[in-house]
Amino acid sequence: MNKFSWYEATSIEDALQQVNSTVSEELYQPTNKASVFKSGGIDMFDWIKEGLLKPQKIINIRNIPGLDIISYDPKRGMSIGSNVTLADIASNPEVKDHYLALHQAVNHAATPQLRNMSTLGGNIAQRNRCWYFRSADHDCFRKGGDRCSARQSETGENENHAIIDNGSCVSVHASSIATALMAFNASVVIINVEGEKKKVTMDDFFVTAGKDIAMENILQAKEIITEIILPAPTKNTKSTYIKQVARESYDWSLGDVAVVFEVSGNTCRSASIVLGAAAPVPYRSMEAQRAIENKTINSENALAAAEAAMKIARPLAKNGYKVPLFVSTIKQAILEIS
């Protein structure tokens, strides 16, 4: 770990004045002179300890007032400040009442200790967990290198990796909470140093590897997430979330599915189906959505939707198991709605 200076930001403006880079930029092209944000610090300190990130200054945005509020309005929906901890979301009754899939996702994320420390902004902005990306001893396109060890069919350890959109990078996004947020059509509110505010959907917040190998989201150096907004549910909104893990107590997702339906009776009127740990960013399966919309929610239709989602899957040498895993999990999630 290198020596760095510590700056305690007192306001959003103050923080944006201090910052000059992002963790992603530094990982792609290290200058070792960066001033970067730290909120919960969960992801950032891993990079620093591995020696892959050597910031000159850490700007602590964790204590900026006003970013740790959850509010709910039946008409406007829910706003979750970027510094709200996962533990606070996990125990929030309104999240449970109105956004069940999010409640489930947060309660299955990480460990109780980590949920106490980590913030929602940091969670959705964290980098992927590909062990080659995170190893100082390995090359990686995302670190500006010219080789992907994970993809190698003989030697690549890719059992946890992507089965969809894995042409440029085979990693999967690390946030399983983002799977649920995207299914609820949540938006991310970002402010830049000029004080301009923009609101982007989760679908637009994440950046595919094919578009930009250095990034997993659109955040730029002089920008900060202030809140995440979830639209108000209707009385016909139903949701569920399932995460498949090797170890039940706490583990990274091998495949997670969030489903948010507008239903009338037992018919799906509109579907939002998002897959986590399937692709380098949370993956909205338009195929599955189309397959189930305006259909009765039953075993046969759920299976058809699940299979439709997996048509585009292109597994690697060691992650073929994810295809039947997703088929089963998508089907189960859809059936849980009914």
């Binding site: 770990m1 290198n2 020596k3 020696g51 039940e248 039947p324 088929v327 089963s328």
Partner: protein, 685 residues
């Protein structure tokens, strides 16, 4: 030697509890009755250090901070096989805060040319090459990254099957030997035999080697199961990593160690640095866990000592998680071929076992002795091979070899039962002659409700249930070189001293229980000072030897100390010492109920400020260590597991486990349950 005859409780309570007569030396204390008649032994006693542990008050080796102490980091190879041509430490040396650098070099005999080069050949990623001590761990890490090691790469092999192929890169081109460390009761095979990377075989057994006639046995068989089973490598990962703090003072080397064996570390450090044992003190107060890989000083122990010597300061050297994974031991994998024959009626006619396993650059990848002993079979042979690979060394791991061996054997027995059309539990009743396991099967099956078990294919749901049973055995060992000092101070305090360490299973607590029971005191009245080699030598925490080795001398020492104290009381009361006893903290007399004296008062009668008695583990007096007796085949465990398998996703969930274990006289029920729970959890995870 004057002896007397005593009757000991013997057998399984609720089944066949009886008495067995032994002739024992006259000075041995009287036999303790069964636990029901004791006050503290066999009860749920809270760990004496529970609060200290859960509040963080307990100081572990990694918590040790000494004045002027430096922090050290190891330099490790990041290549699997290479010759080191040079190491440039100039940049690291000049980094402010760096106090000492030590590189591991080949020992060069005077007047001889060092044909192996200056530095040892690199054989695996993570091999220690040197170390740096600095004013902070961060500086030490930075300094390590400034060392430039120049390598000449060599071809390497890291998986067992490639290593066995003709023309595979050779890991060692010479015969190798390896000493068994400390309390490691796992077998290290002979590394001088064999070809290429394959060493062995070891064909030894408890009874000297192969027995009977395998070929004839298989000819007799109506049914034969022939299978190959595989188990994977496990790394240890105790909560506290390996490490030491070495304070090399002018008069003595003080070593704080996270170790399962203070005594072995003391002996090793004394030997390496040519010091008398009396000048090396190893101390382990609280132990953050160990599963067999913490019996020795490792390479980090001598490294910290060398850095302490060079810098003239105490040196802290604890490893990090990554180092634990790559370099500090693992349970080797196994590929086990098993051929088992049986007659139609189930009688076993032959067991053939052939195993290969890799402990990386080390030996000791056998599958133990379970196949030869669990089910008596007249015809048996085993061949166990070690395969060398360019990977970190294996180490003893909870019943070394046995776990792999039990997995293979019990799978094969299940398959045999199926072929014979028998229920796997009743088949074991038929072929297992152990009375202990028979009772375990009966009691376990009842708790588990084995009768629910359905034939294969009965479940129609996506999630299928499986009910299974597996058995194991482990010999009973004791370490006779186990000693304890019990002191009664003249302020009423009682102290236990031994070098034995508490690995975390509660050794401190059971020692206090034993002494409290003997002295008629409470557990909280007893101070336990152990894990210090300045005290009488205790056993290493390995091989399941500790409790059986250290509690008998603890009781004997307490008994002797009590006798001496009671003599003083007898003198004062002008009565015979044999009438006296201590109960609930009071000295009393069998003859005269009027006579009472608090324990603390009694200690004031002492002429010296303390009574001190040291006792060592006695013999078993014709005890248990005989073939097919309690010591070998008869003990063990039977476990039942209920498992769900999602046939769509492949996810396996262990729903329930019932574990029946033989354990001798249980000393502390809570700790015993914890130990079994820990084993089961570790087994399924």
């Amino acid at each position: 030697m004057d002896t007397r005859k005593e009757k000991f409780p013997y057998g399984i309570p609720g089944h066949n509890l009886s008495e067995i007569e032994r002739e024992i030396p006259i000075e041995e204390p009287p036999v303790w009755p069964v636990n029901d008649k004791l006050k503290i032994i066999g009860k749920r006693v809270t760990r004496i250090d529970a609060l200290d542990k859960v509040t963080g008050k307990a100081k572990y080796t990694s918590d040790v901070r000494l004045p002027g102490m430096l922090f050290a980091k190891m330099l490790r190879s990041n290549l699997p096989h290479a010759v080191i041509t040079s190491i440039d430490i100039s940049k690291a040396e000049s980094l402010p805060g760096v106090h000492a650098i030590h590189l591991i070099e080949n020992v060069q005999k005077e007047g001889e040319e060092n044909k192996n080069g200056k530095y040892p050949m690199v054989k695996y990623v993570g091999q220690p090459l040197g170390g740096i001590a600095a004013e902070s761990l961060e500086i030490a890490k930075d300094a390590i990254s400034l060392i430039k090691v120049n390598y000449e790469k060599k071809p390497f092999v890291i998986d067992i099957e490639s290593a066995m192929e003709m023309g595979a890169p050779i890991v060692f081109d010479e015969p190798i030997t390896q000493q068994e460390d400390g309390g490691d009761v796992g077998e290290v095979h002979d590394g001088s035999k064999g070809e290429g990377n394959v060493r062995g075989p070891s064909t030894s057994s408890f009874f000297g080697g192969p027995r009977g006639d395998l070929e004839a046995g298989f000819k007799e068989a109506d049914v034969i199961v022939e299978r190959t089973y595989r188990t994977q490598v496990h790394t240890h990962m105790p909560l506290e990593t390996h490490g030491v703090v070495v304070d090399w003072r002018p008069d003595m080397m003080m070593v704080y160690a996270s170790t399962q064996n203070t005594n072995a570390v003391r002996n090793e450090m004394a030997s390496i640095f040519n010091l008398p044992k009396s000048k090396v003190r190893v101390f382990c107060d609280f132990m953050g866990g160990g599963f067999g890989a913490k019996h020795s000083a490792g390479s980090f122990g001598p490294m910290a000592a060398n850095l302490a010597k060079k810098s003239g300061r105490p040196v802290w050297l604890m490893l990090d998680r990554q180092e634990e994974h790559i370099a500090e031991g693992n349970r080797p994998n196994s590929i086990q071929y098993l051929k088992i024959g049986a007659r139609k009626d189930g009688t076993l006619t032959g067991i053939e076992q052939r195993s290969h396993g890799t402990a990386g650059v080390a030996l000791g990848a056998g599958v133990g002795r379970i196949a030869q002993i669990l089910y008596p079979c007249p015809n048996f042979a085993t061949e166990q091979y070690d395969v060398l690979t360019n990977a970190g060394p294996g180490a003893a791991w909870r019943a070394p070899g046995n776990v792999q061996g039990a997995f293979g054997l019990e799978q094969a027995i299940d398959e045999l039962a199926e072929k014979l059309g028998m229920d796997p539990l009743s088949y074991r009743d038929l072929i297992d002659k152990s009375e202990v396991r028979k009772v375990e099967r009966q009691r376990g099956a009842k708790l588990f409700d084995w009768s629910r078990r359905q034939p294969a294919g009965s479940g129609k749901d996506v999630v299928k249930k499986g009910l299974g049973v597996g058995q194991s055995t482990w010999p009973r060992f004791v370490t006779l070189d186990s000693s304890v000092e019990v002191k009664i101070h003249n302020d009423g305090g009682v102290e236990i001293r031994s070098s034995v360490q508490d690995i975390g299973t509660g050794t401190k607590t059971i020692l206090a229980q034993v002494v409290a029971e003997e002295l008629g005191l409470k557990v909280k009245d007893i101070t336990v000072n152990i894990g210090d080699t300045f005290f009488p030598v205790g056993p290493g925490s390995g091989g399941s030897v500790v409790t059986g080795s250290i509690t008998p001398p603890t009781r004997n020492a307490a008994f002797e100390a009590k006798k001496e104290l009671l003599k003083l009381v007898a003198k004062k009361w002008e009565t015979d010492v044999v009438e006296l006893f201590i109960e609930d903290g009071q000295v009393g007399s069998n003859k005269n109920a009027e006579l009472k004296m608090p324990f603390k008062e009694a200690t004031k009668l002492m002429r010296t400020s303390q009574i001190s008695k040291i006792a060592s583990r006695s013999d078993d007096y014709g005890g248990f260590q005989q073939p097919w007796g309690l010591a070998y085949g008869d003990l063990g465990s039977v476990q039942f597991a209920e498992v769900s398998v999602n046939t769509d996703t492949g996810f396996v969930k262990v729903d329930r486990v019932v574990a029946a274990h033989s354990c001798g006289r249980p000393l502390n029920i809570g700790q015993l349950e914890s130990q079994i729970n820990g084993g089961v959890i570790q087994g399924v995870s």
